[in-house]
């Protein structure tokens, strides 16, 4: 067994495989499938200071090698998240490492949810700041595609909590490295990328958009080469640890991300096909390390050969 322990700045995880926010609910939904402690971390669906209905339906459409979604961050709000049986109390009791994804419509919303979680942080390993959701009208990607707004929200959240911070970047920008540098300058301990890529699909029989929101975020294997390229660009631009994601279906995909510079990875859409996908990725990374005589995960991070 290789050493799968993964150091992410101030955080150390037992292995480098997490669940991508929005694809694993609040962990509770998969409790009957396996022990959540087997995961590097459970990253929960986005939490705002307020409860939210999310978008009208239909919210998803399957496309070649992927899917479009515009769920629109339906969620219970931070109060219910911290007290409801299906949320944080369950996760605390489970013993899993928990990363809470946070979002808001305003800078104040982001700070409020960060401060609330900071004040009740038992069992919370880190916060992931979502400035990259493409499917909500206010907040989300509006902050993630404007460097000035990104700097404001990220530095404000930094002041609101002492928890380790991950900034989740949007791929819907011209130069993602600029946003990574901005996040680091504003005190983020880690960068996660990529969120979904804005896309669209049309039903040719009805001539109507396949999702009610008109556009949605593309995920799945279709986006993996873009994600790999962006992880590589960000790894060249910043020194903080990177959590890579975007279309990881198996361990080979995850290893590609790590060679490009990711210290950890998140499995997302693959979970819908196979709830056990994250565990298979963990086992597959171990097998790769053993086959390549690597003693630890650290040996393959950024180990891309260019000559």
């Amino acid at each position: 067994m290789a050493d799968l322990t993964t150091k992410l700045g101030p955080v150390t995880l037992k292995n480098p495989v997490m669940t991508a926010s929005g694809t694993f609910g609040y962990g509770f939904e998969y409790k009957d499938y396996y022990d959540l402690r087997k995961l590097g971390a459970v990253v929960v669906k986005g939490i705002a200071p307020f409860p939210s209905h999310g978008n009208p339906t239909p919210r998803v459409a399957e496309v070649t090698s992927g899917m479009l979604n515009a769920i629109g961050l339906q969620g219970p709000g931070v109060d219910k998240f911290l007290t409801g049986d299906e949320y944080m109390p369950f996760l605390r009791a489970s013993g899993a490492d928990v990363i809470v994804n946070i979002w808001g419509k305003t800078i104040e919303d982001y700070c409020e949810v960060a401060a609330r979680l900071d004040a009740d942080c038992a069992g919370i390993t880190a916060l992931e700041i979502n400035i990259s959701c493409p499917n909500i009208k206010e907040g989300g990607v509006a902050f993630g595609t404007d460097l000035n707004l990104a700097a404001k929200v990220l530095s404000s959240v930094r002041k609101a909590t002492s928890l380790p911070l991950i900034t989740k970047l949007s791929p819907n920008v011209t130069n993602i490295a600029d946003f990574a540098r901005c996040a680091v300058d504003c005190g983020s301990d880690m960068i996660s990328l990529i969120n979904t890529i804005t896309g669209m699909a049309i039903d040719i029989k009805t001539r109507r958009p396949k999702i009610a929101n008109l556009t949605g975020g593309l995920s799945g294997p279709a986006i993996k080469p873009i994600a790999i390229r962006m992880v590589y660009q960000v790894a060249q631009a910043v020194k903080v640890p990177i959590i890579g994601m975007g279309g990881i279906m198996n361990a080979d995909d995850a290893i590609e991300f790590m060679l490009a510079g990711a210290s950890a990875v998140a499995v997302g859409t693959a979970i819908f096909a196979d709830p056990y996908a994250p565990l298979k990725v963990i086992d597959g990374i171990n097998d790769y390390l053993e086959q390549h005589n690597c003693k630890s995960v650290a040996e393959i991070i950024g180990a891309l050969r260019l000559s």
């Binding site: 929005g22 694809t23 694993f24 609910g25 939904e29 998969y30 669906k45 409860p51 209905h53 999310g54 339906t57 239909p58 919210r59 998803v60 399957e62 070649t64 090698s65 992927g66 899917m67 979604n69 769920i71 339906q74 799945g220 294997p221 279906m249 859409t269 693959a270 979970i271 819908f272 096909a273 196979d274 709830p275 056990y276």
Partner: protein
Amino acid sequence: MKTGEIISNKLIQGSYFQVDFYAPEICRAARPGHFVHVQIANLTHRILRRPFSICDCSSDGALRVLYKCVGEGTTALSKLQPGTVCDLMGPLGNPFLAPAADEYPILVNGGYGAAATFMLTKESSNGGLMLLGARSASDLLLVNEYEAAGFEVRVATNDGTAGHQGLVTDLLQQVIQQETTRKWRFYACGPEPMLMAVASILQKNHLSGEISLDHLMCCGVGACFACVVKVKADTPEGWRYARSCKEGPVFNSEQLYLEK
């Protein structure tokens, strides 16, 4: 993960197929209204599972699904040969409540919705009535099977090729208007507009029933919030989005929030 080896997979009529999986564990746990989430073995470049109502479960572990060949997923499924193994999640969802000993079940189904309620025939000690609507006579499914199970079947077709020409909800209105001393329990499954019409008729008549929604799903376990439906709730808007895979697919008709 549970697996299901295909025992048989055959065309039954028109574009409707019936597949039997060998899945004894799921069969033991399945209740009427449950669904299975199927990874279709030969479906390349498509990653999501397909949810199907469980039509029947036999004591020897055969799990029956009835499906209409409509898209890439069901077309791929229709080509799978016996011996092929598919990955199955299930049984999933919130099932129907079985009729009580003194209750007479009335099923209101549209098209292959007849499959989702079929296992209720084994739960009723008083027989029952199925109202079945379809586009045409060739879209009427399981009529003989329901009759063999002791259920009366009344049909409606849009084109008048069998039974009443019109909608299954016409038949429902007639049944409600008939004087009867029987204690009813309503169940429904079919296309969403039909189900919303059934819920509306029941609500207007101060009746309730159990409605199984056929909704687009991704994860099947309540994690992704793709398959939501509006239910009445104590919110400023009077509704919230409930996950049909986890809180449904069976909802009480009184729970459903009907758009004006």
